[in-house]
Amino acid sequence: MKRAALSLVVLLVLVAGVRAQKNIDQILVLVNDDPITRTDLLWSLAMDAKAPNPAAAVSSDVLRRKLDVMIDERLISQEASRIPSVEVTEEELRKKRSDLIATFKSEAAFRERVGAVGLTTERIDDLLRQRILIDRFIDFRFQTFVLVTEPDIQRYYDERLVPQLRASGQVPPALDKVRDRISAILKVEKVNQEIDRWLDGARQRAEVVVLAEP
């Protein structure tokens, strides 16, 4: 009993101490010597409308998954920085910003969410610039070289679309009517496959050092 009480006292002191002194930022991971901090993670969550609001409690699993995504983004960003690229224009930035805000309920909701994690307008623009450079790299590195052939489209139509629609009791449209749509879907699929393949290699080559759990 005495031992349990003593343990309680120690723990309460610890809890009190921890609560008074808050860990507000920390280097979590090094990706090829490039640090990702806990604040980076929060900012990434804050700017992702589909992700949980960092102002509320976020599970460890979500944080780990988000951190994995950030590591992949960092790998792509490092590769992108090796390729010469023209500066991001104000026009591109404006468009990216408005596209991002459009994913939220309102601009006020967006401002409130990013403001809660201390993101300034300038830092948001910096992060958006990085995203534009990543998009450009993906476009240059993967999309340019992806080709969707007629047999690919035919196979998708025959083996995936038609059986799917028939199974749901619908009449499949003629191939010509859906050709462009299938082509776009296949292109996205192929780009994603290429990115995944590239990321597998990049992860193997990279030096990722985890310094702390999120």
Binding site: A4, L14, A20, Q21, I24, D25, P54, G118, V209
Partner: protein
């Protein structure tokens, strides 16, 4: 019951307490990544910022505060805090960091940055049984150099590299583990690899899988390894085996052979099965039609004879080289058609290169038109294209050119013109045939264009020095032609101004800005952009690769820098040069590596001295031959009949202190010589290399024999790469025997001679090549005083100087005119009127006056030998020799010379008379061989021939005159 109640209450309380503990623990462990954590402090003002370092802080970590972007008094900003963390990490002083905040009063917030110091590698050690030298293993590791940051990745990669290294050598069962041992401050770490190599795998099976023809594979040459079943396996032996198999097939003309090696390790059995697959391809005969080419030249010309492979690319490359070959033989307009690639499945193939050789021409004229800025002879001397020569043999008679040579020559002309400011120069090449259709005329049509002049010189980026100070270093001035030498010299001087003050990372970049034409000349603004960088201080000096050498010896006596000094690149380069001079190292590379952040414009760097120690023992053998018409010999050595030999063994880096010890023996019919020497390159830490030597010499001169025992002490001072001065003290004992001469000479020399002599000597060598010079000069001189006060029983002064000059004769390739003058003067003092005969000057023979036999010049005496009178030289106190020689190539390794030798030996200095000089003229042949030149000279004594001396002498020598 009471007890039960009490027990029940206690249990209940225990359950409550345990519940509270659980809640408290959950509070501690729950995910605390909430925006609240950072958002809670938004709007507050930072009241205090601290950096707390884990472990015992290194002094450098005091600087960390200056790296932060956040400070007291600012508004709380997650962005600034985040950026501070990133900056801390990028300072390379920090391995990990976090930030904690606490409310401070109503509106304040205090911040604490907790940092883990970045450990750096102080050493990499290999424990256990590594088998291989540590230096060899260290060379396999990347990012694990001393001073590098310790990272788990680098240590783990090192593990992989070591595993790969041992596997390649057949140690598949090697067990290697790594450990990082940190010091108390957590800033310095020893990386330890513990190695247990296990047994080396053995070759379980070796299969030579041949598809196609089989050829005999020769046995391994010396130094090559072989794959033998049951013997230890190493990857290098597979490569050796593949090379040997390939060479065997190529030698049998299977030129399309393909070889692959495959190894299949069985780690359980610790064995390796090796398979080398051979696809022989067809036996290929390469024929050339349209031009004669012998087998030797064919093998030199076509690349596939040495590397194999008969694809379209190598066949086309062969055609290009064959065309070059045809052009160098005078078929300047030859065209070549290459054959198609052979069928790889065929057993044999015949490939025919067809050459349309057209007319054979003699390159009778090379004209360079439009160039007046550079003498044409200067350009022609450097050009590959050669005009036909009347005295040449082989290709020398028809001249030499090809498309490739003409292209290179055009580029050469352009380069030379641009170097002196003709930046717009342009060269076209024209080839024409003479009216008689037999001669080729090559014209380099050059448009020099306007010359560029420096209009103005500007400096940018300088703040440490004023522009006026830097302008004093400028070697090119407004109004000067824009020359590459001037631009580069200025750049070097500006850079030196910075690096000499420790700005080791300073950069200077010249830029030329055209500012238009005026009066037919281009004007250029020359701007030197300077990036001054930080002043660099040496944080530490690390020596690597010093397996035998004492690093303390290096640091104390050789390094021209030390910890705490400003880093000066010139000192690093000079140290490199001086370490090379010790002959103890095959490679010396000195670099500097940044170790962290710079503060106050001062950057700390570690200097790494990476040495690769050379062989510590070096043996040299030499052999030669020289005619000995005088029949002079040391007793017991007459069996050599003119043969000469030498051997020397040198130990460098004795005791790891860079001392060297040498033992040398020379044997010839006329000389037996032995020497042991010990050299300390830094006696007492001074840069005056010292030599202690003991020498024994038995010498047969024409008129006497002598035994000489010498103890020598010498100090050396190297003023530059070309100029060395010495001060030497000799203590010698000399015995003269069998002296042929008048009685007074015999009496003069019958007593053993003891010499104590001291004096300076020097060597200034500016020849382009020590063994076969074509330009430059060499000057050497010595002066000695021999005195009783120095321990001897003879007193005299002696001076000797020699000057050799070499001039390349323009318009005649490889033709060199050399002139060599020697003067020797000696005078006795202290009551004697002559020098001991062993110390006098002698001349005559293959190396000075070639109209004479060995030592026949100068004062002579006649003695009756075997009943007939014979002349014997007595030497003299004065010597004068002047050699003029024209050397020219004849055919390949054969060269010719014509020469004239003027000079004589005089009994006393005052006996010297111009009219008494002798004159020899002659011709000779030279053959360059791997053991040194073979010389055959026929000299005719045409002026002042003494009575009793033959009018001509033939001299034959093999090897250098060591």
């Amino acid at each position: 019951m009471q007890r039960e109640k009490k027990g029940g209450a206690t249990r209940a309380l225990t359950i409550v307490v345990r519940g509270l503990i659980l809640v408290a623990a959950m509070l501690l462990c729950s995910s605390r990544v909430l925006a609240d954590d950072i958002g809670e402090f938004l709007g507050r003002r930072v009241t205090r910022v601290e950096v707390l370092v884990e472990g015992e802080p290194d002094t450098r970590l005091r600087e960390l505060n200056s790296i932060l972007e956040v400070s007291a008094g600012q508004d709380y900003s997650p962005v600034r805090i985040h950026d501070s963390l990133i900056r801390l990490y990028h300072s390379r002083l920090v391995a990990a960091a976090r930030v904690e905040a606490a409310a401070d009063g109503q509106n304040g917030v205090s911040l604490k940055f907790f940092v883990k110091p970045q450990a750096r590698i102080s050493r990499v050690v290999f424990e256990g049984k590594p088998l291989f030298p540590a230096a060899e293993l260290r060379a396999r590791l990347n990012q694990l150099d001393v001073g590098e940051r310790v990272t788990a990745g680098a240590v783990s990669r090192g593990l992989g590299d070591l595993n790969a290294y041992y596997s390649a050598r057949g140690y598949y069962q090697a067990k290697i583990t790594s450990d990082v041992r940190l010091d108390a401050t957590n800033t310095s770490a020893v990386v330890v690899y513990s190695i247990d190599t296990g047994e080396q795998a053995k070759v379980s099976k070796y299969t030579l899988d041949i598809k196609g023809a089989k050829v005999p594979i020769p046995k391994p040459k010396k130094g090559q390894t072989a794959i033998v079943e049951g013997q230890p396996f190493a990857q290098s032996s597979v490569q050796d085996e593949m090379d040997r198999v390939r060479d065997a097939y190529l030698a049998q003309n299977y030129l399309a052979v393909k070889i692959n090696g495959n190894t299949l390790p069985d780690t359980n059995a610790n064995t390796v099965a090796v398979t080398i697959s051979v696809q022989s391809g067809p036996k290929t005969q390469i024929d050339v039609e349209g031009i004669k080419i012998d087998d030797k030249d064919k093998r030199k010309t076509f690349p596939f004879y040495t590397v194999g492979g008969l694809d379209e690319f190598t066949l086309d490359e062969g055609a290009r080289r064959l065309q070059e070959y045809a052009q160098t033989k005078g078929y300047f307009f030859a065209t070549v058609t290459s054959p198609p690639a052979p069928d790889p499945e065929a057993s044999s193939a015949k490939l025919v290169y067809k050459v349309d050789a057209a007319q054979k021409y003699k390159l009778s004229s090379i004209n360079i038109e439009g160039v007046n800025a550079i003498p044409h002879e200067t350009l022609e001397e450097q050009m590959k294209t050669r005009q036909a020569s009347a005295i040449g043999f082989g290709s020398g008679r028809i001249g030499r050119t090809s498309d490739d040579m003409l292209r290179q020559d055009s580029n050469l002309i352009l380069k030379r013109l641009r170097e002196i400011g003709y930046r717009r120069a342009h060269v076209d090449v024209r080839r024409a045939v003479s009216v008689d259709g037999k001669r080729l005329l090559v014209t380099f049509d050059v448009k020099q264009g306007p010359r560029s002049y420096v209009h103005e010189i500007g400096l940018r980026g300088n703040s440490l020095f004023t522009s006026d100070e830097l302008m004093k270093q400028v070697a090119i001035h407004p109004g000067d032609p824009m020359t590459a030498v001037g631009v580069t010299k200025t750049l070097d001087r500006l850079l030196f101004a910075y690096t000499d003050r420790g700005y080791a990372s300073a950069e200077v970049t010249p830029t030329e800005v055209d500012i238009g034409n005026a009066d037919g000349q281009e004007n250029v603004r020359l701007i030197y952009s300077i990036t001054e960088g930080n002043r660099v201080r040496i944080h530490g000096v690390i020596t690597r690769g010093d397996a035998v050498t004492s690093s303390q010896r290096l640091e104390n006596d050789f390094y021209l820098f030390k910890t705490g000094d400003w880093l000066r690149n010139a000192k690093l380069q000079e140290t490199e040069r001086q370490l090379y001079d010790t002959n103890a190292f095959n490679s010396v590379v000195i670099t500097s590596e940044p170790i962290g952040v710079s503060t106050g414009g001062i950057e700390d760097r570690d200097v790494s001295v990476n040495v690769l120690e050379g062989k510590r023992r070096d043996a040299i053998f030499g052999i030669g031959y020289q005619t000995n018409p005088g029949n002079v010999h040391v007793p017991g050595l007459q069996f050599l009949h003119g043969l000469r030999g030498m051997t020397s063994i040198t130990y460098t880096n004795v005791l790891g202190k860079l001392y060297s010890a040498t033992a040398q023996i020379r044997v010839a019919e006329t000389e037996l010589f032995g020497q042991i020497a010990f050299q300390n390159p830094r006696p007492f830490g001074t840069n005056y290399p010292g030599l202690v030597s003991i020498i024994g010499q038995r010498l047969a001169d024409k008129s006497f024999r002598s035994d000489r025992y010498t103890a020598l002490l010498q100090l050396e001072k190297k003023y530059s790469n070309n100029f060395i001065a010495y001060i030497s003290y000799y203590f010698e004992r000399i015995n003269i025997f069998d002296l042929q001469g008048p009685i007074e000479e015999v009496q003069r020399n019958e007593r053993p001679i003891r010499l104590g002599r001291i004096g300076p000597s020097f060597l200034l060598d500016k020849r382009d090549n020590k063994f076969d010079p074509s330009h430059g000069y060499q000057l050497l001189g010595s002066f000695y005083v021999a005195a009783t006060a120095l321990g001897g029983n003879e007193e005299f002064v002696k001076f000797f100087a020699q000057h050799d000059r070499y001039y390349a004769v323009k318009r005649f390739r490889d033709t060199v005119f050399s002139v060599s003058g020697r003067i020797g003067l000696a005078a006795p003092f202290g009551g004697k009127d002559s020098l001991p005969i062993s110390e006098r000057f002698f001349a005559g023979g293959a190396h000075d006056l070639r109209g004479f036999g060995f030592e026949e010049a100068g004062p002579q005496t006649t003695a009756i030998v075997d009943g007939s009178p014979e002349q014997f030289p007595l030497g003299g106190n004065a010597l004068f020799v002047l050699n003029n020689e024209l050397r020219f190539p004849l055919y390949k390794i054969l060269g010719g010379v014509v020469f004239s030798d003027t000079g004589n030996v005089f009994r006393r200095i005052q006996d010297f008379k111009i009219g008494d000089l002798t004159e020899s003229v002659g011709v000779g042949l030279r053959v360059k061989t791997p053991i040194g030149p073979v010389r055959l000279d026929l000299g005719f004594l045409v002026w002042n021939r003494p009575e009793g001396i033959r009018s001509h002498h033939l001299h034959f020598t093999i090897g250098s005159s060591f």
